[in-house]
Each structure stands twice: as C-alpha cells, then as structure tokens.
C-alpha cells in the first residue's frame, strides 16, 4: 500500500489569495493512499522542506506530492529534500497550483476546485512512480577538434594545456585556416603570420596534440563522454612520416599550372605542393587532379628526386577510429561566391577582387611579393574603390540575411594600409553603415578617415563597368549629398559576405546538432550557453557558430576549451534517469522506434528467449542506451506494441493523470 504525503504551499499570498489551501489539503487527504496532507506558508523555505523531510521519516512515506509553484521552479528543491530524508527523489511530484492556477484565476471557488483536481492528478501519478536511479557513464579523456584554423588551434592548445589528449582534424593539407591567408590584423595592424605560425608550431610540437591534416570526419557514433569517431585520412600520396618538407619535389614538378588555392587562384602552384612556407605539418601533398603520374602513369619525377622515398603513388584513403569524450566544432567560414552579382563585374573583370584576394595581393608571400599591383596588367592602381555589404544583409536568395560583422573593420584596415604604403592612391569606401563595436575599433576606423584620408561615402555602388582603357567605371550614390557619382577606378574590392563552410551541414547531421537556416551551428542558449551545442558533449568554437573576428574567435575557442575541459575532468557523468526502455518480451523488432530516435540511442540485437512451450526462439529486440537517450518519448508512440515506455512519464502515469483530471 502506498503511503503518500501531500504538502500544499501558500506561497505567502501568491497561492493562498485565490486558492483555499486548507480546503485543498483537506480534499487531498481523502485520496487513496494519502496518509498525511498539510499546508504551510512557504514550502520551499528551509522550515518547509524540514516539514516534508520530517513527514517522510515519521510516516515512512512512499511518495510525496507538493502543491506549489511550477516544477520548473522547485522540483529539484523538493527532490533534494526527499533524497536527504531517504526517499528516492523521483517519487516526488509537483502539482502546479501557482503559475497554472492561482495566478491566472480570480474566483476562489473555481480556482480551489481546479487546484484539487491538479493535486489529485499528481497523487494519481505518484502512485505509479517508481524509484529511479540516475546512471553514470564514463568519460573518455580525449577531445576531438574539428577544424584547424585559429579557433581549432586555440581550443586544442587550451585543452592540451589542461593535460588532455586532443586530436585536430583539418581537411586541408595544413592547419592555419583563413588566418594564415590574412596579411595584417585589425586593430593593431600586426602581421597575422607572426602571431599565428608560432601557435601552429606549438600545436605541432605539443605531445598531447595529434594533427590529422588532409582528413575529414566520416562517421560519429556514441554520446557525451563516449563518442566513437571515424576519421578519413585522405590519400596525399606522400608518406607523412618520411617527408621532411624539403620542397625539392615541388621545385622539380613539371606540372606548374595548377591554380594556387592558398593565393585565391591569383597565381599557380605545382601538382605536388606545400601550401605555404610555414605549413604545419610541413609535408608535401600530390594533387591527383593534376599529377600526370596519377592521371596517366607518365612522369614520376618527384619520386625520383625525393631523397627519403616519401612519395607513394599507391596510397589510398585510410580510416582511423578513435574514441573521444568531447567534440569541439571549429569548421569556420568562407567568403560567398559572387558569380550571381553581375552588377559588380566580378566574374569577368580581373581587377574586381574580393577582400580576401586583396589580402593575398598585399601579402609579402602573395603572388606579387607584397607589392599591390592590378591583377590584369600588373600596374600600380591609383584609385581603389571598396564596396561594403556585398551579399551581406541581403533579403534575397543571392546573399545572406545577416551582417557578416568583420567587413567594416577589415575594409578600414585595407584602406589604411593602402594609403600608408601608396600615398598617391585615392581610396573610396562605399558603406551603408559603418559598424565598429569593439575595443579600439571605432578609433581605428576614425583614424582611416581622419589620419589617412580615406573617402568614406554613405551609399551603395550600383554598377561596376570595366572600360576599354582598362579603368573601371564605378557608378554609385552618395546619399548624404544626394547625388549619383561616377568614379574612374583602377581596382574595385568587394567585401563579400561570409558563410559557414560547406562541410558544416553534413557534420551537423553526423553530430545530431542543430543548425540555423544559414547553416551556422546553434548554441544551446544564446546568452547563457553560447559555446555549447544543444547536444551534450559537442562544443562550438569560432565562426561556425556565427560571424566573428579573430579576438572573438580566440575568446570563444578558449571558452569552448574550458567547457570541454570541464567535461573531461569528470570521471563519469550522471545521466537523466527519465529515459525510454523497451520491454523485450513485447518488442517486435520492427525498428520504428530506432527511426524516430534523434539521438541514435536505440539499437537492436538478436536475443534468445524461452517461449511458453519451453522451446527457445531468437528474436530481434530493441534496447535503449540510457546514457544517450534524452527522454523525449518519440519512440513510445512509434512503437505499436507498447513495448517502449518512458521512465517518469510512463503510459500508465500519464493515463492516470488523464483519468484524474477527467473524473
């Protein structure tokens, strides 16, 4: 026989003003199984909790119903109190008679009546509650960082610093990401390579960090604390362990007309290549799309010149499986393609470039050795026009609806650097708004205007038309003087919007994490949990979560690392005990539950059963991994036989609530 205690809270006058709490306590005292029913001023106060604890001990209660505020408020408080008194915390139910009763009703009689019904439903439910124990699952002390840009590197360094093993998976032949392509950084104008490459080297040398370059994630299984990830190490046709990065093969390779991705296709590289001098790992990679040996078996020069015999034309993709406790996503961003913007002539005029291309044009390791020259005729440009918001803040399918955030600042940087290096150059910046929130950011922008004489014009460029004489006619509006302008420019630089990397969406599917419509990863809470995804054990670092500049990215990378370290520090994690479970005797093995499970928590196995006629039969039955299940209950409805049920919200519990309410 159940021995249930009912505790009705006044909540000062919050409840007592509209609900006759004494009447509620009295009415519930008559419910079956209820052995004590009392009311109190503030049930959540320490003395209120003591009242509950004392009653549990004195009456040897088997269940507790607290009629009070929302369970979202104090369910945990009363569960802890019950636990302290030796009662399983999951034998406590809350009847919400404040938010969902006293606060919304005015008539005392009907509000009291409703409170009684809600109380009865809770009593009916608690009759069927079972003691639940939160399970524990171990944590693998190793983290995976997906993406080896500045975000991934920073996260990996921080986690390694805390003493945990970290693997970085980078899809390109080298880590470094976008920051490696950038010339100078705002607002300090220090050289990007000078601050990034030491970090890359540090990552390579840290014995806790393993770098899987030229690799991708091909499969993710498991759950927080215990992910199993398959990493595809793409064939680079060079033995990483042997290659010394001497670069002799790249010098001798006869195939020299391969567009150089690192320089945004502004110059060429060889078929066997090292992306840039400071690449980490400094290992050559053969591009199978251009290598003549791989395409038609003729050449083999690199193999001949390699003194350590690192070239291996027969290399194939390899798959590595590894277990991780935490995963940090740092997949970064790319500038959008601009081929849909005919008005800016980007597709057919070489002197119309994106900002990232300009970074390479101005970089000492870039195609022109750091001298700013027009790509078309290698002449010095004397008039340069910058166009802001190309594809950002666009309401149509061509662009992105959001502000890309970094363009205002890097454009100010470009304008300033050009004016400093080439004072004879006129620089115009067409802007819609100049957005410079950030430490020393607005000062930086003002310096571009005041000190460097950059012409900032409020208005948008409508049309860019290359002319026969090699100059470019830029037709734009100046909204403040309300006139249309024509500028004869030598170069046009477009601040292209940025978008998440294309690999992000398939990755989100593998990780079962959420994404917004723009393919940015969604954080668990925009304010309070900004570096965690809603899926436990998956953390977000850098621009994969939203547009960010370098300081913000590094800050978030460290924050994500801190969260991952917090997880890895634990030996085990407590699971939510309100999870689904399958009654094997009833399960048909039809897989319906498996298909609706968003977490992949359900697996099937063939099990031997003794049948009523004493024979044995092998049946396919479902089992739920309680560490993975989050307790949504989708499977319980997909299951036609009713084999699947949910702890804490079982079929019979919910039906008993229904019955109590409808009675």
């Amino acid at each position: 026989m159940q021995r249930i205690g009912v505790f009705v809270c006044h909540c000062g006058t919050n409840i007592a003003a509209t609900v006759d709490v004494k009447a509620v306590a009295q009415a519930l005292a008559n419910e079956p199984g209820v052995v004590i029913s009392q009311d109190y001023q503030y049930m959540c106060s320490e003395s209120g909790q003591d009242l509950v604890k004392a009653a549990i001990k004195e009456h040897n209660l088997s269940g507790v119903v607290v009629c009070s505020c929302s369970p979202r408020m104090h369910e945990n408080t009363f569960r802890k109190a019950a636990s302290a008194a030796g009662l399983n915390p999951y034998l406590v139910e809350i009847a919400n008679i404040r938010e969902q009763c006293s606060w919304i009703h005015k008539d005392i009689a009907s509000a009291t009546e409703k409170a009684v019904v809600l109380g009865k439903a809770a009593v009916a439910k608690v009759h069927l509650n079972t003691p639940l124990t939160a399970g524990e699952s171990p944590v693998v002390k190793r983290a995976l960082v997906i993406g080896g840009g500045i975000a991934g590197i920073q996260t990996a360094l921080d986690i390694a610093e805390a003493g945990f093993e970290v693997d970085i998976v980078e899809k390109e032949p080298t880590i470094g990401g976008k920051m490696a392509q950038i010339d100078k950084t705002f607002p300090t104008l220090d050289c990007a390579a000078c601050i990034l490459t030491p970090k890359m080297v540090e990552a390579a040398q840290n014995e806790k960090i393993t770098i899987h370059s030229f690799s991708e994630i091909s499969d993710v299984k498991g759950f927080v604390g215990n992910f199993t990830v398959t990493i595809k190490k793409k064939a680079r046709f060079v033995d990483e362990t042997k290659c010394t990065g001497c670069g002799l093969c790249t010098e001798k390779c006869p195939m020299k007309k391969v567009p150089n991705e690192f320089n945004m296709g502004l110059d060429n590289r060889t078929a066997v290549y090292i992306p840039f001098t400071q690449a980490v790992p400094k290992v050559a990679t053969i591009d199978p799309n251009y290598c003549m040996m791989l395409k038609n078996g003729k050449c083999g020069i690199c193999s001949k010149v390699c003194s350590v015999g690192a070239i291996d034309y027969k290399q194939t993709d390899r798959f590595v499986e590894q277990k991780y406790g935490a995963i940090v996503v740092a997949t970064g961003f790319n500038p959008i393609k601009l081929d849909k913007y005919d008005e800016f002539a980007y597709s057919w005029c070489p002197d119309v470039v994106t900002s990232l291309e300009l970074e390479r044009l101005m970089n000492a390791a870039g195609p022109n050795g750091g001298t700013l020259l027009r790509p078309s005729d290698k002449k010095h440009p004397h008039t340069i026009v910058f166009v802001q918001c190309v594809g950002s803040r666009c309401d149509d399918e061509k662009g992105k609806p959001y502000c890309s955030k970094i363009c205002c600042m890097y454009t100010a940087k470009h304008a300033m650097l050009i004016r400093e290096k080439y004072p004879d150059t006129e620089v115009y910046v067409f802007y819609i708004d100049v957005r410079t929130p950030g430490k020393n950011f607005d000062e930086f922008y003002r310096r571009a205007v005041e000190q460097y004489g950059v012409h900032y014009i409020k208005g948008m460029v409508g049309k860019v038309s290359p002319k026969a004489d090699g100059t470019i006619d830029v037709q734009a509006s100046d909204l403040l003087s309300n006139e249309q302008l024509h500028i004869d420019a030598d170069m046009v630089v477009l601040a292209a919007a940025i978008e998440p990397d294309k690999t992000a969406r398939p990755l989100a599917t593998m990780l079962t994490t959420q994404m917004d419509t723009n393919d940015f990863f969604t954080e668990a809470h925009p304010k309070l949990r900004p570096v965690e995804s809603a899926t436990a054990g998956i953390f977000l670092s850098g621009a994969c979560q939203g547009p960010k500049d370098i300081p913000e990215t590094v800050a978030q990378a460290s924050a994500a690392a801190a969260k991952a370290i917090g997880l890895l520090c634990k030996n085990s994690i407590t699971c939510n005990p309100c999870v689904a479970h399958s009654d094997e005797l009833m399960c048909n093995g039809c897989s319906a539950c498996e298909k609706v499970c968003p977490y992949g928590a359900i697996t099937y196995q063939d099990k031997e059963f003794r049948m009523p006629d004493r024979t044995t039969a092998i049946r396919r039955v479902a089992s739920v991994n309680p560490a993975v299940c989050q307790g949504c209950g989708a499977c319980t409805v997909a299951c036609p036989s009713g084999a699947m049920d949910l702890n804490g919200f079982s079929n019979s519990q919910i039906m008993s609530e229904v019955d109590a309410i409808c009675k």
């Binding site: 009833m586 399960c587 048909n588 039809c590 319906a592 609706v596 099937y604 049946r619 396919r620 009713g642």
Partner: protein, 323 residues
Amino acid sequence: MQEAMIKRAKELLADGTVNRVMGWKKGEFVYDTTPAVFETAEELEKEFVCNDFTQANLSKYLIKESRKEGKILAFLKPCDTYSFNQLLKEHRIIRENVYVIGIPGGPKLDMEKIKAKGISGILDVKNENFTLKIETLYGTETMPFYEAVSGKCADCKSKKHVVYDELIGEDGDVLASRRFDMVEKLENMTSQERYDFWRGELSKCIRCNACRNVCPACTCENCVFDNPKSGIDQKAAADSFEENMFHIIRAFHVAGRCTDCGECSRVCPQNIPLHLLNRKFIKDINSLYGEYQAGADTTSKCPLTDYDTDDCEPSIVHERGVE
C-alpha cells in the same frame, strides 16, 4: 496454373531447395480453402489448391514459418508480395528462409456474393468467358463473373510482384484503381452523416479480432488490447467508445504500414468496411506527405517515422472537406 505450381513445388522439394511449401488447402467445398503448409509431394498432390477462391494472404504466416528449420516455398499473389516486403522491412520475416514464387493474382471470387444471388447447394464453380457456371445440387446456374468478384479484388491496386525468386506466369503492372472513391464519398458527407455511418458500421463489431489476426501489419508479439499493462486492454467492447477506440487505434498502429491488402474487410464476419479506415490514412498520407505505397520496397522511410520541416499543420483538417 494449379498443376504448374504443384509441379514446381515438387521439384523444389525434391532437390532440397525447400523442405516445406506454403499454399492453400482444399476444404469440403470448392470455395472452402485454407492457408496450409505441405511437407511432402503426396500432400501436395492430394490437398494443394489454387483456384478462384484462394484469396487468403499468406505473408503473415511466414513470420513464424521463416523462423523454423529449413527453407519454405511460398506462393505469393501480387498483393501478398507487398505485405511480404513490408514485413521484410520490419525485420519480421527472415528472407533467406523463404523461396518466393510469384503467381498471378485475382480477381478472386467472394462466395457470399454468389450465395446472395439465392444460389445454394454449390458443388463447383467454373469461370467460362467471364460467366460463372455453378454446379449445384439442384442443377447448373450461371451468373456474370464480375458480380461475384470479391471486394478486395474489385479495387485491385497492383498486379506487379514487388519481390520474388521466380515467377509462374506473367508479371503485371501497378494499376490506376479507384480505391479511394468511397473514402472520398464519406469525406464529402457532413460530420453528422459520417458519424452515423460509422456508428452504424462499428456498432456491428463483435470483437472477434479476425481483422487483427489476419492483418499482415498487426504482427505484435502482444497486442496492446491484450496486454493488461497497456491500460487499454479489453476483451470485448463494453461501450460504443471501446468499439471506436479499438478500430481507431488499430488503424493508427498500421498507418503507413498497411499495404491495403483488404484482408481485414474480407474476413470480417459482420461485413464492416474496415479497409476504409486504413484507406483514409493512405489517402491522407498520399495527399499530405507524397505518394507512398507500403511494401513497394524495403528501403523507403515510413511516413510516420519520417517528417519534412515544411509539413502541413493539423489545421488542414479544419480547412478542407465538410464539417
């Protein structure tokens, strides 16, 4: 046809490909056929039958049969192959243990329709050029073939075998049937008319469970209506509510899985058009979530365990049809 089937079955038994044969067994009367398993050539010779009355869908029996020792030969009509496929998809049948021979389907005949013509003492029924020649104790009677075609065959959706190891006879095509006409007619009634119609039908239910037991989608180890732990177990409907409840929940549990084989209505001793409930779900699924035929393959996702982010809202029920 029957001869060819027996011949092939004997061959497969003889060469050890299979050790049992699933087919239909002769009864006392020509129209009295029962699904049966045969183990020897002699049994086949003596009792195996395939005629205009062998309507029963054999797929469901293969759930148990495919778990036994050795391989079983099953003769499946086109409609049965859909059920078979659906059961494969749900891991209910072990494919390796079944040798499927596709045989041509109906139209099969419904004895009740012949008897309804006042013909009794029936000894034999022969189809001659779509006229039925019926030998009775009282002499020979005739009636048009199509007037005796069973309900499930009249609305045939497909003559295509979706799964088989070999075929006897030609394979057919998916047909453009008018099977949703009756559902549509009901949809166009008023709410009160629909209520009256279904009350009239479902109140006839005697909860014999024939529909459930024959249904190839109802294959639960233990039905929720038999399980005291489910909270809704009931042996017989005690109230009109329970009549409704049983059929709503049964239709819901097979929604997206029902291949529309028509067995439920065929076996109903009270002649309740239960297939209309299933067809309503099929019609809704087709119109709201895209054409879907359960059992047409073994890989597609069942509409109820799938979703699209742009799915319609339930308010669509309010927006269409008649209140």
